[in-house]
Amino acid sequence: MAAKSKKDLLVENAILAPLDWVDERTAAVRGTKWFLFRNVPRDISWAQTLGSAALTAFIVMAVTGVILAMYYEPSATIDPVSGKSVAYTSIESITNELTLGWLVRGMHRWGASVFIILLFLHMGRVFLFGAYKYPRELTWITGVLILAMGMLMGFTGYLLPWDQTAYWATVVGINLNGTAPFAGPWLAQFLAGGPEIGSDALAKFYALHMLAIPGALIALIGVHIYLVTRLGVSSPPWSGEAAGRERPAVEPAGARAGLVRGSGGGD
């Protein structure tokens, strides 16, 4: 056995050893390898990138959202200097004064629409490919819940600029909640936080928008991606002879070699 060079020793001590130490306790390295070094069907292409595109939009929302939270103040109290509410004033200063604040706010505002569109497209693709069928039922259900949570993010986030559009759309929204049987009126009263929608409602929407719903959303996305990795990406249903059909019991000799054929996703 040749003596290890100094460089090899350095790499081993500085990088591999700590990684091994972490992996021994968490299986994080094995998990990452399991996620990255797996095979996917040969014939997947652009249609199957919509899910990761939605994930990218979500990451954009998370990053811009954290930056906005550093400068935004969820208060409907009137600012004595500007004569406008504190929330509205902070949105004005993010848009007008903060360096690139307009870009951060604009990306958050429009990223929401892009996220929702991508979720719908992704869902449409999964439906068209019949990819919600066995064994991917739970992947589909977490996906539907992600869509519902995404819509709730849109509803709670719409109020935060505390301008006329935000305010009146939310007044209607809360009244709509109130029409639901059983919990409806209670929920509407809780959200409004009083006879008139003001700082109480703003604080509640803010907490839901940046703590509760994103928490649920991140957990659901985690489960969704775990399931996709565990069960594999389904191939297009029209790929080769495999889709939805049994294959001939005995394959002709040599049929596998050189036959360009889909990998029979999920059948």
Partner: protein
């Protein structure tokens, strides 16, 4: 036919796993490459939308960015609970719900639009893998699923489009109708009632209610053309001050308008006895 569905499904999936293992392509770097390109496009589109939104909005005397560009203004005027003439409008992906409200506008049916249909849609979506249990995945061999998908997409598109283009009753236009209302209802010269009618037009009452053929009929709010036939001005003042006391939890209180304005509104509503009954 002898073997059950679960067994067949498991066999299919075992074949799939075997195929992918033997003939699939590596996720890293092959699939990741497509994903990365797509993600860059997505970020590019988001940045482009933000830039168009920011630079296309103009300034008005009231402030910067209030003049809407093609993607709307930076923000609208500060929230003001005292002005009820603002037309509520949700974000575009709620337009379908917004328009459903106009279809199911009667009080007994509002909950069909607000809760009933969304809940049914959610249950149908979640339950999809359980009531569509066939192994067939090719679109052309799933005619029911494809027709259902096309109908869903069409109805969502139509509802969204109708919601986006729905005409709203604008206070500034409705005010012009006050003289004709006074004539039809016979309260010409009653200054208090005319003042009330003006307030009625400007305060956004017709965003939900209808009156002599005007208004939206949102949220199941009733027609008020003949409302004065059954009650007097004092009743309306009390009702407007606290609708909840009359079992109306959808309508908010209008007590902020002040006693003087409420009295005028009450006088106007009491004078609205309808055109047919005289």
């Amino acid at each position: 036919m002898a073997r059950d569905l679960g067994e067949l499904n498991r066999e299919d999936f075992a074949r799939y796993k075997d195929d992918v293992k033997k003939e699939g392509k590596p996720f890293f770097p092959r699939a990741i490459f497509h994903d990365t390109v797509m993600s860059l496009v997505v970020v590019g589109i988001i940045v482009a939308l933000a830039a168009i939104w920011y630079y296309d909005a103009g300034d008005t005397p009231e402030g910067e960015g209030l003049e809407p560009g093609i993607l709307g203004p930076w923000y609208t005027e500060p929230a003001d609970p005292a002005t009820t003439n603002f037309v509520p409008r949700p974000d575009w992906y709620f337009y379908f719900l917004f328009y459903l409200l106009r279809i199911f506008k009667w009080p007994e049916t509002v909950f069909i639009a607000t809760v009933g249909i969304p809940t049914i849609c959610l249950i149908l979506l979640i339950g999809l893998p359980f009531y569509d249990r066939r192994r067939e995945r090719r679109p052309l061999h799933r005619p029911v699923a494809m027709v259902a998908a096309v109908l869903t997409i069409l109805s969502m598109a139509v509802l969204t489009w109708k919601g986006a283009t729905a005409k709203e009753a604008l206070g500034s236009e409705l005010v012009l109708l006050v003289p004709s209302w006074a004539e039809e209802q016979g309260f010409v010269g009653n200054e208090e009632a005319e003042k009330g009618a003006k307030l009625f037009a400007e305060s956004g009452c017709l965003n939900c209610h209808t009156y002599l053929g005007q208004g939206a009929g949102n949220l199941g709010a009733p027609d008020l053309s003949e409302v004065g036939a059954t009650n007097d001005a004092a009743y309306f003042v009390q009702y407007l001050t606290n609708p909840a006391a009359y079992g109306n939890t959808v309508m908010g209180s209008y007590s902020y308008l002040g006693a003087e304005n409420l009295a005028a509104l009450g006088e106007f509503l009491a004078a609205s006895k309808g055109t047919s009954g005289g």
